[in-house]
């Protein structure tokens, strides 16, 4: 099996979960990777009491790593507390991906987290 392009990575790339737009939405974020021009946006719907992520959709375009990261993250993010998101670490995403990410592909993997942190009032700079 390929060490980077594992079956589940390609599955999420070809068939991304929770992709598209969500209207109406309560929170949104958008960002791009300046290295390659890839873009990613997110629409988030939160619970009536404002504490929980009820639903979200990512949209945009990117490589297999960035798309799979967004898709896999989306499944975890739905149901999480909004307040938890700004504290999510880069390792949270890389552990989720379960593959070794080279330094040159790190931003691809972290774009979705960057967008989500920005959408939930967190630090919108690149996760360490």
């Amino acid at each position: 099996m390929d060490s980077l392009y594992r079956d589940y990575i390609l599955d999420h790339y070809k068939d991304p979960r929770n992709f598209g737009e969500l209207d109406p939405h309560d929170l949104e974020g958008h960002d791009h990777n300046p290295l390659c021009g890839d873009e990613l946006g997110v629409h988030v719907k939160v619970s009536a009491d404002g504490t929980t992520i009820e639903d979200l959709r990512f949209h945009g375009q990117g490589c297999a790593i960035s798309q799979a990261a967004a898709s896999m993250a989306s499944e975890e993010l739905i149901g999480m507390k909004v307040a938890e998101i700004p504290g999510l670490s880069a390792e949270w995403v890389t552990d989720l991906l379960g593959i070794d990410i080279s330094p040159t592909r790190r931003k691809c993997a972290l774009l979705s987290l960057k967008v989500m942190r920005g959408a939930t009032g967190g630090d919108a700079s690149w996760p360490e």
Binding site: Y5, C36, G37, D38, G62, C63, A64, I65, R105
Partner: protein, 413 residues
């Protein structure tokens, strides 16, 4: 097509870095020369020898060593200028092509571009020939206009006369050879049409000088810029060729040492061309290296370099066309394109293509190639790009085709 069995130019052995092994144990196939070229031993040795034997600051010292350094530096300028049909006093060394364009935008642009004036560039430009003009237009209240690009990757020259007819265009800045599409633009014609309309013209030759015979006098633009590191030379040195009367009338760009005739408490007078535009200690070793690079290219002959790149491009277009789902951008007419081939493969992002190519030691570029407006007008976020130079062979292209086949396998296509 000619059944070429051996490459007309066979110089790979002159480039030490190309012996480096890739992840699969084979020497790398370096296909990213549009980003930067590799350097022949002649260039590396010339720079090393300069530092070992001849290093001193130029233009000032009266001792023999300083004179030798000055001779090497100015000798390089003379040969670099002559290499592209330029005169020595109007051959100005800059840090790179970007700095040369900024020099023109600041030192010429601020004097000649005013409110309501227009600067005309194209959708095919590298960011280096976009952003300086955006800054200038913003500062001066001028308008930045663009010539479009046709679907087959050529400039919409039919829009040029219409744009020039306004009479407000004061500068036309156009790339000679596109770093993405490979398109070779008719720059002499563009320069002539700009001049007829009373506009100045700047040509960005960063991708042209490394691979085509270029004669800046024949092109006749007011400014022609290029960079050393794509032409087998070192990083840190670029070149601006300008029309003498235009350069003489311009104010300096950067102020400092070497660019002055005399410095008073309140004001100074400027040195002669080309030094008026070379403030501070120059990239001396880099000039020596660039001199060695153009000597090396001249020995091969730029007609032979062009023929070699044309052959590799033809081979690439033919090989890539056999790959399912692959689409090449840019002109298909080999007379109209240089040695850069941008493409996409359906179902695989360019970054992933580049990653899988790297596993087989094939170095290609993926991304927007510092040409985001062009990417937008082509309707793609990014492309993959293979670009060639004298040291590449048909085998390098075959390895690219094989690696792209592997990528399709990995992605289950």
């Amino acid at each position: 097509m000619n059944p070429v069995t051996a490459p007309a130019v066979d110089v790979k052995a002159d480039f030490p870095v190309l012996k480096r092994e890739g992840p699969d144990g084979r020497p790398i196939a370096y296909l990213d020369s549009a980003a930067t070229s590799q350097k022949p031993l002649a260039v590396i040795d010339a720079m090393s020898s300069y530092y070992r034997n001849s290093n001193a600051n130029v233009h000032r010292g009266v001792y023999g060593l300083a004179q030798e350094a000055t001779d090497l530096f100015e000798g390089a300028r003379e040969r670099v200028g002559a290499f592209v049909g330029g005169e020595t006093p109007t051959t100005i060394f800059t840090r790179n092509a970007t700095e040369a364009i900024n020099l023109v935008a600041y030192a010429w642009g601020r004097e000649h571009i005013g409110e309501g004036d227009e600067v005309l560039i194209t959708h095919m430009e590298h960011h280096s020939n976009i952003v300086p003009w955006q800054l200038l237009c913003e500062e001066r209240g001028a308008k930045l206009r663009y010539l479009g690009v046709t679907e087959d990757g050529n400039l919409r020259l039919d829009e040029l006369d219409e744009a020039l007819a306004s009479g407000r265009v004061k500068m036309v800045a156009v790339v000679h050879v596109s770093n993405v599409l490979g398109t070779i633009n008719p720059v002499a014609e563009i320069a002539a049409r700009a001049r007829a309309a009373g506009a100045a013209c700047l040509i960005d030759g960063s991708q042209a000088v490394p691979q085509l015979p270029v004669d800046v006098a024949e092109i006749g633009a007011d400014f022609y810029v290029w960079t050393g590191h794509k032409a087998l030379g070192p990083t840190g040195i670029g070149v601006l060729h300008g029309r003498r009367d235009v350069l003489e009338a311009m104010r300096p760009f950067l102020g400092g040492g070497d660019m002055i005739a005399s410095v008073g408490f309140e004001s100074s007078t400027w040195n002669e061309l080309p030094w008026k535009f070379e403030a501070g200690t120059s990239p001396i070793a880099e000039a020596v290296g660039l001199g060695a690079a153009i000597d090396y290219l001249a020995e091969i002959g730029m007609d032979a370099v062009r023929a070699h790149e044309r052959d590799l491009t033809a081979h690439a277009l033919e090989s890539l066309a056999r790959i399912e789902g692959l689409r090449v951008f840019g002109p298909t007419d080999l007379d109209l394109r240089g040695g850069a081939v941008s493409f996409e493969v359906k179902g695989i992002h360019p970054h992933d293509l580049a990653e899988i190519c790297d596993r087989e030691g094939v170095c290609i570029r993926a991304g927007h190639h510092c040409a985001q407006p062009l990417m937008r007008s082509m309707g793609v976020p990014a492309t993959a790009r293979a670009s060639f130079h004298v040291y590449n062979t048909r085998e390098d292209v075959d390895r690219l085709a094989a690696a792209l086949g592997s990528a399709r396998e990995v992605f289950g296509l």
